[in-house]
Each structure stands twice: as structure tokens, then as C-alpha cells.
């Protein structure tokens, strides 16, 4: 389902109220050409269901995987993606930009 930006935050609260483990990912910084603006959100539940986006689909898989760990251990993380980080991450941004994504648990 296509989600408007505000529906992502509404879903985060709804899923948590329904008893799901939920993490919220936020684009906090971008450098160069980045697919989604600062402040964009992606919400993830413990089963890997997600809504919204932090990139054009390039790094969502990695963010969802990381988010399930954030749900498990409760520790917020700051993730960086970009072509410069190819050795650290298996995924990157084909547009050549870099983004920084904050992932936190909703509790």
C-alpha cells in the first residue's frame, strides 16, 4: 500500500498499540544527491513489515534488517549508507549520494 508521510507515523503508533514490536527509521542527514529528503520516515515491525521509505528502495532492506535488531535490543542506532561505504555495507545508493538514518525503537 502506498503511504503518505503522515500515515507512516500514524502506523507506527497503531502497530505499537496493537502489541507489535516497532522501530522508526528517520533520514537525519543527506550529502549530495539523495533520493528522500531529511525527515523522511520508515516504520518497521518485528516481522519485517514496513511502510514508508528512507531511500528510493536502495537501502530499505538493510534498514529493515537493522530495525529488527533495534526492536530486539532496544538500542537506537545511526546508520550510514553511500557509495563511500561499500566495504562496510553490501548495499549502497546508486545515485552517488550518502544518507544517515537514525533507527529507534517505539516503546
Amino acid at each position: 500500500m502506498f503511504a503518505r508521510e503522515e500515515e507512516v507515523l500514524a502506523a507506527a503508533a497503531r502497530w505499537r498499540r496493537e502489541g507489535q514490536g516497532v522501530a522508526l527509521a528517520t533520514v537525519v542527514q543527506t550529502w549530495g544527491s539523495a533520493p528522500r529528503p531529511v525527515g523522511s520516515h520508515l516504520v518497521v515491525d518485528a516481522e519485517g513489515r514496513f511502510l514508508g521509505s528512507v531511500s528510493g528502495g536502495c537501502v530499505e532492506g538493510a534498514v529493515v534488517a537493522e530495525a529488527t535488531e533495534v526492536i530486539a535490543d532496544g538500542q537506537a542506532r545511526l546508520l550510514e549508507f553511500g557509495v563511500a561505504d561499500e566495504t562496510a555495507w553490501q548495499v549502497g545508493l546508486s545515485c552517488g549520494g550518502r544518507i544517515s538514518v537514525y533507527v529507534e525503537k517505539v516503546d
Binding site: F2, R4, E5, E6, L9, A10, A12, A13, R16, R17, L24, T26, V28, Q29, P37, V38, G39, A76, L78, S100, Y102, E104, K105, V106, D107
Partner: protein
């Protein structure tokens, strides 16, 4: 994030009130800031900027990195005329993140059947508009061709500083409209704000194509003219 804080953020958005969520990325500490709280806050300058531009931003505060999630009222589209073009425009605008309301006192047009899931008011603009509280985050599009319905809505939109005001009709229709509105006391520079003929010139023919042209023009004003909205706010 605390669920109660997230729900407070969601409630502020639903009430169309500007809010900033402050997140200290190191400690994870978070708080909500409202416009009235900005003065005296250690982050007063970046907070004011976030409220002014509606843009989220990362701020370096000493050794601490702080993220400001700016949440300003989402853009709204108010349409007079539950007409064929509106049937295409309403769902397109909703997809593009607009909250959509349609006003048309003609009950044969303003039916839930013709506009499934749309906020539709079968009322005269004079009745419906005060409750909607037009503001600089709102676009007003007049599509009925009927001066009795469109004129009062256009007048209200100009007075409220709506970021976009547009009216359907030929150049001749619009010239007559400008004369009527001038007669109601609107200044020429105010009247010049009305987009007419409405929509980007892309050679639209069908109602859906006209809806694309209108939505394109509304988005252009939303994204390119933030200063007007700020002045009016």
C-alpha cells in the same frame, strides 16, 4: 521513542498545529516543542528556523548532535464544485499528501457515491468555510463556473492568504469574475493572485488531464513560493 510522545506528535499533526520533535542522537532523549516554547529554549534559533521553513534538520550543539523533526500542517486542498474534474482531482491530490475537502451546495453533485472516501460538504461556501478555517497552508480551487458558489470561496481564500487560489473558466469568464470581485472591494494586486485560466498549460482536454494541470500548478506554488506563505502566516 516513547509511544506517548509519538501519539502526542500525531495528535498535533491531526489538529494542524506546528510541532518540532527534538531528538538527541547520542542519548536518545526526546521532547516536543511548540511554537510558543521556542523563546528561551537553548535551541531557539534552529527551532525557529524549523518552524519557519517546515524542514527537518540536524543540529550540532557542542558535542551533541540533535535532530529536529519539523512537523507543520500538511497542505490542504479545498475545492468548490463536486464536478467531473473534482472526481479526478480529489484522489490525485490525496495521493500527493493533500487533505482534500469539496464544497458544493448542489446535493445532486455532492454525494458520497460520486466521491467515495472524500470529505464532501453539501453546503454553501459561506456556511462550510468558517469551520474549515482557510490558512496559508491551504489551496483553494473554484470549479463550479457558478459565481454564487465560486465568488465567496475565492474572496475567503484571498483574505486568508491561501498559498494557491485558482478558478476555472475562460479568459472572458475570468474578466467578468475580476469585475465582480473588485466590486466587493478586492484590490487589484489581490485579484492578480488568482490563477485563471486554471492549471499548467499542458494542453489538457479530459477532466483527468485538467486535474493533472491544476495539481501541477498547486504543487509548483507550494514548493516554489514558501516566502508568500510565511509573510501571510
Amino acid at each position: 521513542m516513547d509511544l506517548a510522545l509519538l501519539e502526542a506528535l500525531n495528535a498535533e499533526r491531526a489538529a494542524r498545529r506546528a510541532t518540532v520533535l527534538v531528538t538527541e542522537l547520542g542519548s536518545g532523549r526526546q521532547r516536543l516543542v511548540r511554537p510558543s516554547d521556542v523563546e528561551g529554549d537553548p535551541l531557539a534559533a534552529p527551532l525557529a528556523e524549523a518552524f519557519r521553513t517546515g524542514k527537518s534538520a540536524l543540529v550540532e550543539e557542542g558535542n551533541e548532535r540533535v535532530f529536529l523533526t519539523a512537523q507543520v500542517p500538511s497542505p490542504r486542498l479545498v475545492i468548490t464544485g463536486a464536478v467531473h474534474i473534482s472526481q479526478a482531482l480529489a484522489p490525485m491530490a490525496a495521493l500527493a499528501d493533500f487533505s482534500v475537502t469539496i464544497i458544493d451546495p448542489r446535493t445532486a453533485f455532492a454525494t458520497a457515491e460520486r466521491f467515495p472516501g472524500v470529505d464532501i460538504r453539501a453546503e454553501w461556501p459561506e456556511v462550510a468555510l468558517p469551520a474549515l478555517r482557510l490558512d496559508p497552508h491551504t489551496a483553494l480551487v473554484a470549479l463550479t463556473h457558478d459565481p454564487k458558489i465560486d465568488d465567496p470561496a475565492l474572496a475567503a481564500a484571498l483574505a486568508a492568504g491561501c498559498f494557491y487560489v485558482g478558478a476555472l473558466g475562460s479568459r472572458k469568464t475570468h474578466a467578468n469574475r475580476l469585475e465582480r470581485l473588485a466590486g466587493r472591494g478586492h484590490a487589484p494586486d489581490q485579484l492578480a493572485r488568482i490563477h485563471a485560466p486554471i492549471g499548467l498549460d499542458i494542453g489538457s482536454v479530459s477532466p483527468a488531464e485538467i486535474a493533472v494541470a491544476i495539481l501541477g500548478e498547486v504543487i509548483a506554488d507550494l514548493r516554489r513560493k514558501p516566502l508568500r506563505r510565511e509573510r501571510a502566516a
